[in-house]
Symmetry: C5
Subunit: 97 residues, 5 copies
């Protein structure tokens, strides 16, 4: 899984019918503190009602289809948790506002 920040949304009228009604978020992966951006932005289905600005966990690949919302759909990434806090080497480095 990756630590990522929700930075936006994307809307599509023309799409595979299997993803009708899903919420598509734009995400930016971060380091283990939630502060430094890492790698390229990507798009994931939201199954935990996350919002822009939230720090979340995303899972990728076939794992992304292991939820009721994404079963048998053409999606390769899902937001599966909203992060409350991150602790590194015994110190809390991120705490949800």
């Amino acid at each position: 899984m990756r630590v990522a920040k929700v930075i936006g949304t994307t809307v599509s009228t023309i799409k595979s019918p299997r993803i009708a009604g899903t919420k598509l978020l734009i995400l930016q992966a971060t380091d283990e503190t939630g502060e430094k951006e890492l790698g390229k932005p990507f798009v994931a289905i939201d199954v935990v009602d996350a919002g822009v600005g939230d720090l979340v966990l995303t899972c990728h690949g076939s794992a992304a289809r292991q939820t009721h919302i994404t079963k048998d759909t053409p999606v390769d990434a899902v937001v599966m948790a909203v992060i409350d806090h991150l602790e590194v080497d015994g110190n809390v480095v991120f705490r949800k506002a």
Copy 2:
């Protein structure tokens, strides 16, 4: 999923019989605004009748076989949505012409 721009097409006479009749697009991934190119071009099956110049969403891996067109085929990427607009930090950064 990735945000990507359709930049071309590829044609093959000699191919796995399971992909006969499919449309193969060449894509270039972009950042979350659809403007900056990111990473290497790749090829994906089109299931939403996208055209050159369209900004689309692509999904990768086993997820690419989760459509009627690509079921049980040797394909690892599919164009599964045409993007209408992208919104980042509350601003619309891309809107389909």
Copy 3:
């Protein structure tokens, strides 16, 4: 699999119900000696009761669901072994304290 060091933990109240009760570790991949950091940190489910500071093996992708704890869950990485020692070119380069 990757050699990685456990560097922290993450806690989420809002999450996919299928991962309720699992322990989520933050990891940093290392080289074959366990010393040099490689690539970006990531998050994995722990199935071997590893602790912060341990050097472990992680597996990724659908393989991460091949344990009793992670079966049918939206997870793409799992800590599946704690490393006792690493031997490179005939020399022991890491030994668990």
Copy 4:
């Protein structure tokens, strides 16, 4: 899928019995014109009788097992088409000799 050039072959006597009789090609991914090399060389099973010098399409991951030759085998990449031509922005940038 990736655009790649066949650059060589590899032979193994000691191998998983499930890949006995398959042809293993060495490939170098290229850009969308087939000219510029991109990324690292890799090895794939050939199912379309491609030859050294051919520009081909390769698919990766579980998709590589979706052919009669590669079903249930430990292979993660397959050459699934020989490219006749590539068209980018309305121009033919590669045509098979």
Copy 5:
């Protein structure tokens, strides 16, 4: 698949019970000649009794579970062939000693 050199071994007492008895090798991917190191070292299960110094083929992802030894195990990489020789552009660039 990747061309890789076996550079070491790793031993774990605490591990997922499904991988008990398997041999875990540390590998370094190389270019198509077996000489130049590429990318990061990784760990794979050995199913062909390879040894340190051997040049081998590894496969990754769900393909790694397509052997009798790795079926239903949490492993994402397997050594599935020992390379006898590599031929690039008509020249033998590697031959097993």
